[in-house]
Each structure stands twice: as C-alpha cells, then as structure tokens.
C-alpha cells in the first residue's frame, strides 16, 4: 500500500501533475499525530524559536509574559507552517532524496493537498494571533518572513541557483526582528544586526552540510553549490563566508549595542569558527576537492556552527539582563 501511494505523490515542483484525490482514502487514515508534527520540521523550528526569543528578551521595554509566550508560539507555528508548505512543494524531490524519502508526503501517509491546507491554515493563524497578542509591526514582519521562505526561497530560488541558500537564508534571519518588534512595535539597529548575523551564518552552516549530502541534491536536480560548482569551490565559499561572518558578529559589541559577555563570546566562537572552516578548506581531498576523510572536518564545522549561533545569541540575552 505504501509503495503505491508513494508513487502517487511525486508531482513536479508543486505543480499538480497528479490529483491529491489519487491517494487512496485508506492511506490518509494511516497518518499519525507524529506525522503531522513532522510536517512542521520541529528540529528546524528550535533554532528559529531561540533566535526569536533572544530578539524578544534583548528588546528594551516590557511585554506581559503571556503575550511574550504567545509571540514565541506564533514564531514557532509560522516556522512550522513554512516547513509544511515546503514539504508540499518539494514532495517530488523529497521522494528521490534518501534523507527525505520517508517524510509523511512521499511515504504516502499524508496527502499533498492536506499538507498544503495544514501549512496555509497555520501560517494565517500565526500571523493573526501575533497581531491580536502584540502589534501590527510584528505580525507584518512574521507574514513577510513566511512569504519570503515560501515564495522567494522554496518556489523561486531553491531549484534555480546555487546561491539559493545565500538569499533564501534571509527567511531564517527574521525571528530576532519579530521578537524585537513584538516588544517595541518597531525595529532598531541591534535586531537588524542580529538579522545580518543569521543571514551571513546560514551559507557556511548549510554548505558544510551540503558537502556530504550533495549526492542527494544531485539526484534530485537541486543546484546546491557542491553540485553546481564542485566541492573545492564550496570549501572556499565556506571559508570566505566565515571570514565575512566573524567580523560582522563583532559589530554589535563595537557599536556598544551589546556588552562584554557578547563581545567575548563572539570573539572566541568566531575564532573557533574560522579554524573549523580552515580545516574544511585543508581537508585531505582528491583533485576535484572530494574529501578523503568522509568530510569529517565539514561534519564538525556543521555541528559547531549550531553551537556558535546558540552561544552568541544566548550571550545577547545575558548582556541584555546584565546591562
């Protein structure tokens, strides 16, 4: 049963090559609550929620804890909605990629149209609830981030250019702005810098991952950088973007928008990031730049980049409380 339904869900880039009604009714009954939760990409949501929470904590002013909790919930639900819509649109490439073939849509446990409806309903609800609980500015930025992720990254850039993750990375950089706006009703330099840091952090983080997952993208025809430009070029891009990222992370401290805890954290974690990126660049490789160490340095850098962002954003929050 699963095999039949799996073949029925492979459309082309969200274009409905098949009707969702082609999915046997029985298959729809096979979804679990966990499948619907999986549509929301909960692991991605965690980091998004964290940076949004830091934007909220670092903002001057006071927001009632109930409303603050609601704001964070809205950011989480909106991020999840983006994940669901992304899974609906990318169901054809998810079906051919090993990493994603067992997701609820390609596995045939949830019909594409139901996933789309679920995602759109959550997206609309999150924006309306944000407006109700906080203000129009936060709701507007939240709506913009959803639109950017769905239309600009997923539908426009992802399948067209190896720079997809550079521009598309902006979608994941909005949460600090949203958290800040939820408290203040506007934005200022610090949340803009937080946005810039996440924006610049995304390419080396994602390209490190793509160095060892590129076979999947190649099979699916997605022009990720290692597929389009090769591993050697990707290593240089990782190193170059890291060199651009680290000074940027020091700007909030240099402008006295954050305190010494942040400054020291950004300095130490930044230096460590550069060393990791250098090791990716100097990894033992063949003439095409393909790793002879099973991309061990890239795997380390990918994991470290998660700690890097978490630590420096936690430091933003600490400085906001200490200062």
């Amino acid at each position: 049963m699963m095999d039949n339904t799996a073949s029925a869900v492979t459309g082309q880039g969200g274009g409905d090559a098949m009707s969702p009604l082609a999915l046997p009714v029985a298959a729809l009954s096979m979804s679990t609550a966990g499948d619907w939760l999986a549509l929301l990409k909960p692991r991605v949501v965690v980091l998004v929620v964290f940076t949004g929470l830091v934007g909220l904590l670092a903002a001057p002013g006071h927001l009632n804890p109930v409303l603050a909790l609601t704001s964070v919930l809205c950011i989480a639900v909106a991020a999840g909605a983006c994940g669901a819509i992304n899974m609906w649109y990318d169901r054809d490439i998810d079906a051919v990629m090993k990493r994603t073939a067992r997701r609820p849509i390609p596995a045939g446990r949830i019909a594409p149209a139901e996933a789309l409806g679920f995602g759109v309903a959550l997206a609309v609800a999150s924006v309306l609830l944000m407006w109700l609980a906080t203000n129009a500015a936060a709701a507007f930025i939240l709506a913009m981030s959803i639109g950017f992720y769905v239309f600009v990254y997923t539908m426009w850039l992802k399948r067209r250019t190896p720079q997809n993750i550079v521009i598309g990375g902006a979608a994941g950089a909005f949460p600090p702005l949203i958290g800040w706006a939820a408290v203040t009703g506007g934005i200022s330099w610090l949340p803009v810098l937080m946005f810039a840091i996440v924006f610049m952090w995304t390419p080396p983080h994602f390209w490190a991952l793509s160095l060892w997952t590129h076979a999947d993208y190649e099979r699916a025809g997605v022009p990720m950088l290692p597929v389009a430009a090769g591993a050697r070029s990707t290593r240089w891009h990782v190193f170059g973007y890291t060199l651009a990222l680290v000074p940027l992370t020091l700007v909030p401290w240099a402008l006295h928008l954050s305190g010494p805890v942040y400054g020291l954290s950004a300095l130490v974690m930044g230096a460590w990031f550069i060393v990791g990126a250098w090791r990716v660049l100097r990894d033992k490789q063949d003439s095409a730049g393909v790793s002879l160490t099973k991309d061990a340095p890239a795997k380390k850098l990918f994991r470290f980049s998660l700690y890097h962002l978490a630590v420096i954003f936690a430091a933003f929050a600490v400085d906001a409380f200490v200062g």
């Binding site: 096979m30 679990t32 609550a33 619907w36 109930v66 919930l73």
Partner: protein, 48 residues
Amino acid sequence: MPGSREEAELVAKRRRGRNLAMLAVLLGLAALFYAIAMVKMATPGFQP
C-alpha cells in the same frame, strides 16, 4: 491486507491518536485565548 482486521485496528488506533492530539491543541488554544483576553482587559486604557 486491505480490509483486514489488523489494518482496521491500526487505522482506529491512529485516528484515536490524532483525535487526542487535536483535543489537546483545542484545549491549549482555549486556555491561551482566555489568558490573552485577561491580559488585554487588565491593560490600562482597555476599552471593550
């Protein structure tokens, strides 16, 4: 396989799980909207 007793039981079990999850979400939303309403009503300058 289709229509077998095992499959019917599995479908019923999964439906029950989805229903319970939906119940939890609805109860959570009711509590959240109640709390938001209380906070908004307690805000100085609130006008119904």
